[in-house]
């Protein structure tokens, strides 16, 4: 099953490679990994999407917790949460396809950021599944480039991951 693990980690040089190194050394897979500094500049927030059996996920969480730089972490899959990913897609357009494409973008609540005679750049946020659904809804031959941020997430309700 897919798990989104949200990590608060010391904002130190090398912290990212400790996490990435752990995954490669122990043979866990990373589907995506995003990092950015938090409102407290001494901490970074990392969101990691991985897949594995319950046993594997349990080990991943234990091993991550063992890293000295990791302050706290949660597996978002354990409770209701919101998942968002940002995607930008560059798409070939023609006179004939432009209108259709615009309505698909609307249905998916995307935005068109850039327009040229022969292309659109579409911005879209949502769960990774929604983004997948969009790219499969349009003609794959027309896609010039896809840029995805990887998923981030936050739990629902008052509880939060902080110090």
């Amino acid at each position: 099953m897919k798990h989104i693990i949200s990590i608060l980690i010391e904002n130190e040089a090398g912290a990212l490679s400790r996490v990435a190194g752990l995954f490669s050394a122990r043979g866990y897979n990373i589907e995506s990994l995003t990092v950015a500094v938090t409102e407290d500049p001494s901490l970074s927030r990392m969101t990691l999407v991985t897949r594995g059996s319950e046993d594997v996920i349990a080990q991943i969480i234990k091993q991550l917790n063992k890293l000295i730089d990791v302050v706290k972490l949660i597996d978002l899959a354990d409770s209701p949460h919101i998942e968002r990913e940002l995607m930008m897609v560059k798409i070939k357009t023609t006179e004939q396809t432009r209108n259709d494409l615009r309505s698909v973008v609307d249905i998916f609540r995307g935005r068109i950021l850039d327009v040229t005679a022969n292309s659109y750049v579409v911005e879209m946020t949502g769960s990774s599944e929604k983004l997948d659904a969009f790219t499969s809804a349009i003609n794959s031959d027309s896609i010039i480039e896809v840029v995805r941020s990887g998923a981030t997430g936050i739990s629902r309700g008052e509880q939060g991951l902080h110090l």
Binding site: A13, G14, A25, Q59, K62, N65, K66, V71
Partner: protein, 579 residues
């Protein structure tokens, strides 16, 4: 008080109570070596190869329980230390390794002797630091010791760029008394319910087993383990790393378990219905084939590291994350409060069964041979040292024989590389032990292949007067490799033999020590006595053992505990087999 970074480092080590640093100089650490020259609190042991420094510090740490400290230069000095760091990491040994680094402004420019030490060691340290600010140096050293010695211990590397130790830059010095890290909290509290549940399960057992490992040694909990085991009256086995945690000469001890464990230990594990694992990590050398491991048992697992629990063996009935010593105390208390007693009738039957397994005498060997049997040498070593020596070893058959035939009654006496299995460990480790305990007998049991991996440390032994006794079980083979080739590759002995083995007697004499070659069984005892009588000399006994002796019992790869290869197959007579 204003000090330079180099002085701060030395003063921090002194304030940390460090007696010895094991090291080797070079460009990036010259400021530090100059500071070493100008102080006396911390003694520097100059090794002959940085691997030796890490193993010596490691041996010191294993024997004393205190962290070992290493100092190496950047680049090749640092990479040479990596094997020793990984060795300590795999066996959870507290160690602080200071490595020099090129000056901060040139880091990343492929400067002379630059290597990314923090990057290289990341997978084999508990943690590492790159010092970027000399005002934080003392605090970083404090953190390094704190992390290395608390929780599940391990090595910590502190990489110090040369400019951080420059003599012309001085800053105020104050060594922190205490330190805490918001991201690291090694103290764990164990819920009473878990303890109660464990006791209930233990008392319900009909075929109980106690399986205790290196965590008991690391956690200084031998006394508690012994009490606990005696109160219950249950059989106990130790892992290779746990030997000495429970007195091996006690009748409740059934020997080591695992690949080269005794028949009784492995059979009892296999048949057991309740196993309590204490500071042991279900290593593959112990479990054999995972699906066939202890099929009937409910398992209680005590470990300070949550990641050790359910890592290889998933079916843990009662996990207890905590420090062995307090947990064992809690268990003992709870046992005393509980009205139930162990099931006497079932236990008697269980012991009877175990005694039948014991009667197989899986460690018996041919005592009538004209050749020197390696097992005989270890038994003689045990007698000559009255069972009270510190024994280090290298890796191979000799290591297993030392583990099997020298019953350790005390923890921290058996010092070997279990997890990484590093040949070359034994001699430098012995030097570290001897520095810690100058009055004690220290023996290094080794093989003619292993000893050559760190033989240069004989020179260190002379300089620092560490008269250890080297017991070289010379079978003219990489015996352990040859044994696997005999069993699994139809005796195709590919490269497990060296036909240019040095004359060790001459070699050790050249290093300034005493060398004695032994060819006959009757020479073994007198030579050992002679060696240990020479209190102030390092003595190398080059003992020509039976070339093709194997280590038994053996659980071959992919087999379960009940599927052991014995020296004498069950149902055959020893006499017939040996004839």
């Amino acid at each position: 008080m204003e000090l330079s970074g180099a002085q701060i480092l030395l003063q921090s080590l002194a304030d940390e109570g460090v007696e010895y640093i094991f090291g080797y100089p070079g460009g990036a650490v010259l400021h530090i070596y100059d500071a070493i020259f100008q102080q006396e609190a911390v003694k520097h042991i100059l090794v002959r190869h940085e691997q030796g420094a890490t193993h010596a510090a490691d041996g010191y740490a294993r024997a004393t329980g205190k962290p070992g400290v290493v100092l190496v230069t950047s680049g090749p000095g640092a990479t040479n230390a990596v094997t020793g760091i990984a060795t300590a990491y795999m066996d959870s040994i507290p160690m602080v390794v200071i490595s020099g680094q090129v000056s901060s402004p040139v880091i990343g420019s492929d400067a002379f002797q630059e290597v990314d030490m923090v990057g290289i060691t990341r997978p084999c340290v508990k943690h590492n630091f790159l010092v970027k600010d000399v005002t934080k140096l003392a605090e970083t050293i404090k953190k390094a010791f704190y992390v290395a010695t608390t929780g599940r211990p391990g090595p910590v590397v502190v990489d110090i760029p040369k400019d951080m130790t420059a003599p012309n830059i001085t800053v105020p010095y104050k060594y922190p008394k205490k330190i805490s890290l918001r991201s690291y909290n090694p103290v764990v509290h164990v819920a009473k319910e878990q303890i109660k549940a464990a006791v209930e399960l233990l008392l319900s057992a009909t075929k109980p087993m106690i399986y205790a490992g290196g965590g008991v040694v690391l956690g200084e909990a031998s006394a508690e383990l012994t009490d606990f085991t005696r109160v219950l009256g249950y059989p106990i086995t130790n892992t290779l790393m746990g030997l000495g945690a429970y007195p091996a000469t006690d009748k409740q001890f059934v020997g080591m378990l695992g690949m080269h464990g005794t028949y009784e230990a492995n059979m009892a594990m296999h048949e057991s219905d309740v196993i309590i694992a204490i500071g042991a990590r279900f290593d593959d050398r112990v479990t054999g084939k995972l699906d066939e491991f202890c099929p009937y048992a409910k398992i209680i697992h005590i470990d300070i590291d949550p990641a050790s629990i359910s890592k290889t063996i998933k079916k843990i009935a009662i996990p207890i994350v905590g420090d062995v010593k307090p947990v064992l105390k809690q268990l003992l208390e709870c046992l005393k409060e509980n009205k139930k007693q162990p099931n006497k009738k079932a236990l008697d039957a269980w012991w009877q069964q175990i005694d039948e397994w014991r009667a197989v005498q899986s460690l018996e060997y041919d005592r009538t041979s004209d050749l020197i049997k390696p097992q005989f040498v270890i038994e003689q070593l045990y007698q000559v040292t009255k069972g009270d020596a510190y024994v280090t070893s290298d890796v191979g058959q000799h290591q297993m024989w030392a583990a099997q035939y020298y019953p350790f009654d005390k923890p921290r006496r058996w010092i070997n590389s279990g997890g990484l299995g590093t040949m070359g460990f034994g001699l430098p480790a012995a030097i570290g032990v001897k520095l810690a305990f100058p009055e004690a007998d220290v023996a290094c049991v080794t093989g003619e292949a292993s000893i050559q991996m760190c033989i240069q440390e004989l020179s260190t032994a002379l300089q620092f007067k560490t008269p250890v006794k080297i017991i070289n079980l010379n079978n003219r083979y990489m015996g352990m490799v040859r044994q696997w080739q005999e069993f699994s590759y139809q005796s195709r002995y590919s490269n497990s033999y060296m036909d240019t083995i040095p004359d060790f007697v001459k070699l050790v004499e050249a290093y300034g020590h005493v060398g004695i070659r032994i060819d006959k069984p009757e020479e073994v005892r007198p030579a050992l006595e002679q060696a240990f009588a020479m209190k102030d000399r390092t003595v190398f006994l080059d003992i020509m053992t039976d070339r093709t002796e194997n280590v038994y019992p053996m659980i071959e790869a992919g087999k379960g505990h009940h599927d052991m290869k014995l020296r004498v197959a069950l149902g055959t007579s020893m006499d017939r087999e040996l004839a």
